[in-house]
């Protein structure tokens, strides 16, 4: 049965979407409104923070007390490449970091439409190389993100694979935006249940992200369902039952597994898109984040190292 907190969280998203959809608002105002999404995330206790220049990419360390010194989560925020930031994702990322006992580096990648594709992927790669330059080993890095950040988490590993470079040790892709053509059945089927995303919003995001770049919506560089998914590290896919992207995320999980990877797919009951924003008080979300923590520890070999 759906918790009252999950219902309250969905209503919060509905209100936020409604308030930000005023057609007279300019982009900076919409960004400010959606930035307040973070109030839906409760402060995780026992985590400290530090801003850092990750090779030219603004970033924020989330450092749980007593976390592992050797491993790191490279975290990419939501927002279709257009909105939200490392600030609005701070608490959600810190909850995942705390569940895993591993510090998280939350990126403030350049946003579109000011910076179109591939600026975001380039920033993620820059930050990854910065981590390597600071002594983190590839297998001790998890590539993490949600929504567009869930796409970026996978795209980073694909770029590295295509160049024959060492891959991160894990990919945690939450509510990933896999298919900019929006052909999944839940785009229509979950239209009433998803309180954050809508077809017009996704159209706005993809237009900001890709218009003028010459990159097609079907291009494997931006469409994970059309891309080569072979030879990737272990992948955990999480998505919400009620989100527009549910069907494409399930399909991505199937294809990633079919391509020969070790894949685990979890559908969160009554989960909204980017449900991790409800961390700290929505039971379904906290359960999912606890599982992510266990998976990250296990996949990055932290439990084995502790034995």
């Amino acid at each position: 049965m759906t918790s009252t907190q999950a219902v309250e969280f969905a209503n919060f998203f509905a209100d936020l979407s409604q308030r930000s959809a005023n057609p007279t608002f300019d982009l900076s105002t919409i960004r400010d409104i959606v930035e307040t999404m973070h109030v839906a995330t409760k402060e995780p206790e026992g985590v400290t923070y530090a801003e850092v220049d990750a090779g030219g990419v603004e970033a924020l360390w989330c450092i749980p007390t007593g976390s592992d010194p050797l491993r790191v989560l490279l975290h990419n925020h939501m927002g279709g490449s257009v909105i939200t930031s490392m600030y609005s994702d701070r608490k959600a990322a810190a909850h995942i970091a705390k569940a895993a006992g591993i510090r998280s580096l939350v990126l403030n990648f350049r946003r579109s439409p000011e910076h179109k594709y591939p600026a975001q992927v380039e920033d993620v790669e820059t930050a990854y190389r910065w981590l390597l330059g600071h002594g983190y080993r590839p297998e001790n890095i998890a590539s993490v993100g949600h929504s567009i950040g869930g796409y970026l988490a996978v795209a980073l590993a694909q770029r590295l694979r295509d160049r024959g470079e060492a891959l991160p040790g894990a990919i945690l892709s939450i509510s990933p935006w896999c298919d900019p053509t929006m052909s999944g059945e839940s785009i229509e089927g979950n239209a009433d249940k998803d309180k954050l995303l809508s077809r017009p919003l996704l159209e706005f995001f993809r237009s900001c992200f890709l218009d003028g770049t010459g990159v097609e919506l079907t291009d494997p560089q931006v469409n994970l369902l059309n891309s080569d998914l072979s030879g990737l590290p272990p992948i955990a896919v999480y998505y919400g039952e009620d989100e527009l992207l549910a069907s494409e995320d399930a399909e991505f999980g199937r294809r990633a597994e079919g391509a020969g990877n070790e894949v685990t797919v979890t559908q969160v009951d009554a989960g909204q898109h980017s449900f991790i924003i409800g961390a700290g008080w929505v039971p379904e979300v906290d359960q999912a984040i606890a599982e992510m923590g266990v998976w990250l520890r296990s996949t990055l070999g932290l439990d084995a190292a502790a034995d």
Partner: protein, 192 residues
């Protein structure tokens, strides 16, 4: 001479003031835009946070690593009672707590116009009494805040004094707003 960074902050505030002067904005949007200014503060390192119900007043602990356990600064945010929040003040309060080596309790007091005077003073007093009930000694509590929060920091002590109650150990009022008649001559001379 002001630093380059200080000039940048002033410029940022100027841009915000221009954007906020749009007469078509509703209060909720203005609040969101103000809260987004919180991004201008840099994260204080080595400070953790915890949300707490301070006797009915939502509040946020800012806890510097290795800080004193017995002292606390009770901190009220800026915003004329109408805008800003404990979230937008988190980092500034975290810096203050770290500089002092003591915890800060940042209050999310009720805002106006939904809750007019004296709701804000009532909430500060409620949180102060909650601290006493938690075992903090009154002489280890500093009453702090900035802008209207500076007013609240002083008002708390005045209210307690007038009731003949023990006073906090210190008042830290930053950029306090004291003169609601706006007769202060710098209102004209510094507006540029």
């Amino acid at each position: 001479m002001a630093s380059e960074q200080s000039d940048q902050l002033a410029e940022l505030n100027g841009v915000s003031r221009d954007r906020l002067s749009n007469p078509n904005l509703d209060l909720q949007t203005i609040r969101d835009m103000c809260d987004a200014l919180g991004a201008a503060g840099k994260e204080p390192e080595g400070v953790s946070y915890a949300e707490v119900d301070a006797g009915g007043v939502p509040a946020l602990w800012c806890i510097p690593a290795g800080c004193d356990d017995e002292a606390v600064v009770l901190f009220s945010h800026a915003g004329g009672t109408a805008v800003f929040s404990m979230s937008s003040d988190r980092k500034a309060a975290g810096h203050l707590a770290k500089a002092a080596g003591i915890r800060a309790l940042v209050l999310d007091y009720r805002r106006s116009p939904e809750n007019k005077f004296p709701a804000q003073q009532d909430d500060v007093e409620t949180a102060y009494r909650w601290l006493l009930a938690q075992g903090y000694r009154r002489d280890k509590i500093a009453s702090g805040g900035h802008s209207v929060g500076g007013n609240l920091a002083v008002s708390l002590a005045i209210r307690l004094r007038d009731q003949g109650l023990p006073l906090p150990g210190a008042i830290l009022a930053v950029s306090g707003w004291y003169d609601t008649e706006l007769k202060n001559p710098t209102l004209q001379t510094v507006t540029q």
